[in-house]
Point group: C2
Chain length 196, copies 2
């Protein structure tokens, strides 16, 4: 164990609480009092452990995307691309109803638009959204190579469409859509995707 007075809170738990605040209120909408209260610590502890608000956000974001990536990669490893996409869209629809997490997607509502001070956060989120799209695209390219998707399809375009639907579902979830509502959306989106 390290010398000095021991930390009285668990860093990961505190980060999870911060994540939920950012998720619900966005980067700019989450105030320091909001964060410290949710984390159960006071301001200097937050700064000592996480740097500052932006670093805290990035660490919470890392946690969020790590989790999302894990689920995504597991789903995309499904051998049939059609099944993978079904699992992905229905999974998002069902997951959005989880009462333990805020509605919507942090990558979308964290800072879709913002003031000048948060531009770098906005860019970071756009990059991470692009990474999600790229992962889907790579999976579709694999499907094309395997003949699991008609060769007429463009992996890039289809990946963008799927990402678009996912992001639209995030907006609707944040607006209060139910899991059923979103499952119906997923079902319609899947009609566009070649069954082959």
């Amino acid at each position: 164990m390290t010398a000095g007075r021991p930390r009285e809170f668990n860093t990961d738990e505190a980060l999870d609480h911060a994540l939920k605040v950012f998720w619900a209120k966005g980067y700019e909408g989450a105030s320091l009092p909001d964060l410290t209260e949710a984390m159960g610590i006071n301001r200097p502890s937050l700064y000592a452990a996480f740097g500052n608000k932006e670093e805290l956000f990035r660490k919470a974001l890392d946690r969020y995307t790590e989790e999302a990536k894990k689920k995504r990669d597991e789903i995309l490893s499904e051998p049939k691309v059609r099944v993978a996409l079904e699992k992905m869209l229905y999974g998002i629809a069902d997951g959005s109803a989880c009462p333990k997490s805020p509605r919507g997607c942090l990558l979308v509502q964290g800072a879709l638009s913002c003031g000048d001070a948060a531009q770098s956060v906005k860019m970071e989120l756009a990059q991470r959204r692009a990474q999600g799209e790229a992962a889907i695209r790579r999976r579709l390219e694999k499907a094309l190579a395997e003949g699991d998707l008609p060769s007429s399809a463009s992996a890039a375009d289809l990946a963008r469409f799927i990402t678009c639907v996912i992001q639209g579902m995030a907006v609707q979830s944040a607006s209060g859509a139910s899991a059923e509502d979103l499952r119906a959306v997923a079902a319609w989106a899947l009609k566009a995707i070649p069954a082959k």
Copy 2:
């Protein structure tokens, strides 16, 4: 003409400039200095003419939705529902490239998530998004009644799907997607919609 010193700026023009700031930075991200500078007026003039920041936002929002509604109603009056939806989605794709307006959609990025002080604005935006969805749903119900859509389709679900795609396109546009990118998304979405 009314008595007293005449206003030195045009209210509608100033409102348009304010609209663009809100559109680009969101309700919370737009600061008073951002607004007054873009509008070319000073603070007391803003308060005298528009009330306060929130009222200014609502008036800008009215202007925005009025315009959007006009275009939407025109497009939805298209006799064939399939043609209407094509025009709507491709129109949004093309319109998002307009260099005179900020990227994305004010209804989505105005305040998707925000601090406590802006909750009422967030709710207002959600309501207006719901109005857009309702307009599409009514048009689809009409199509169903006319046999212009397979009777197996649910107007509510399909309207939600189309709204989802539109909102997803708004997110992608805000992230820098090109008109071509978005046209490809629109094309994929239209594949889901029965040709009948």
